[in-house]
């Protein structure tokens, strides 16, 4: 679920689908360009992006972050799963 409020967006990630360490990596990668933070709460993680002062579209930035997190998850999860399966 994604919420937009003013110049900020808050994305809720399910830890069973998006591992918190992968989200941590994605947040770190984005932190050089945006004000961004990761909040871990039980089974969910929340990413808050502040795109104030940013010329780009905040909605696009938010969804691009989701895509980036998904790409990292695919790289981590699928590769390791195949390595285990194939020995």
């Amino acid at each position: 679920m994604i919420e937009f409020k003013g110049d900020k967006s808050k994305i809720e990630f399910n830890n069973a689908i998006y591992f918190p360490e992968v989200l941590g990596q994605a947040v770190e990668d984005y932190s050089s360009a945006f004000k961004i933070k990761l909040i871990k709460e039980g089974l969910f993680s929340f990413v808050v992006i502040d795109f104030s002062g940013c010329s780009e579209n905040g909605v696009e930035i938010t969804y691009e972050f989701c895509n980036y997190a998904l790409a990292l998850m695919k790289d981590k999860f699928v590769e390791s799963a195949h390595y285990v399966k194939n020995g």
Partner: protein
Amino acid sequence: MENPKTISNMELCGDHVLLSINPQIYPLDIVYSAAYALLDKAYIVLDGDPEEEIIAELRLKIEGDLKKLGDEFNNELLNYAVYKKQSEKNALLRQAIVQRALLTNGFDEDISLDDADNLLAPWESNFDEKDDK
């Protein structure tokens, strides 16, 4: 907001489409791979329970047909499911081929290859002497 329209496992909701995926048929790694294949044309967010039901929320990056996008995602799911199944089926054979290739390389003195152009000779021995002249 428009009333959602449900077609098979798809729910068209205005600017996005929700896909319900059964993880018993398409496990999470297949869902990741299918989503990854469409990242250039859609914004994708996954949710739900990897044991019960996975929900994929797809939003087109540029205007287009949401139903088509949902269909494409379903096709990708099937594509990667087949790929995984085949890959598991061929795992032993693949391993045997790789082992054979590695073993063959281990006994390179026994290999007699036709190397008329002297391509198998190490780079140094091929060029160092010529360079010295």
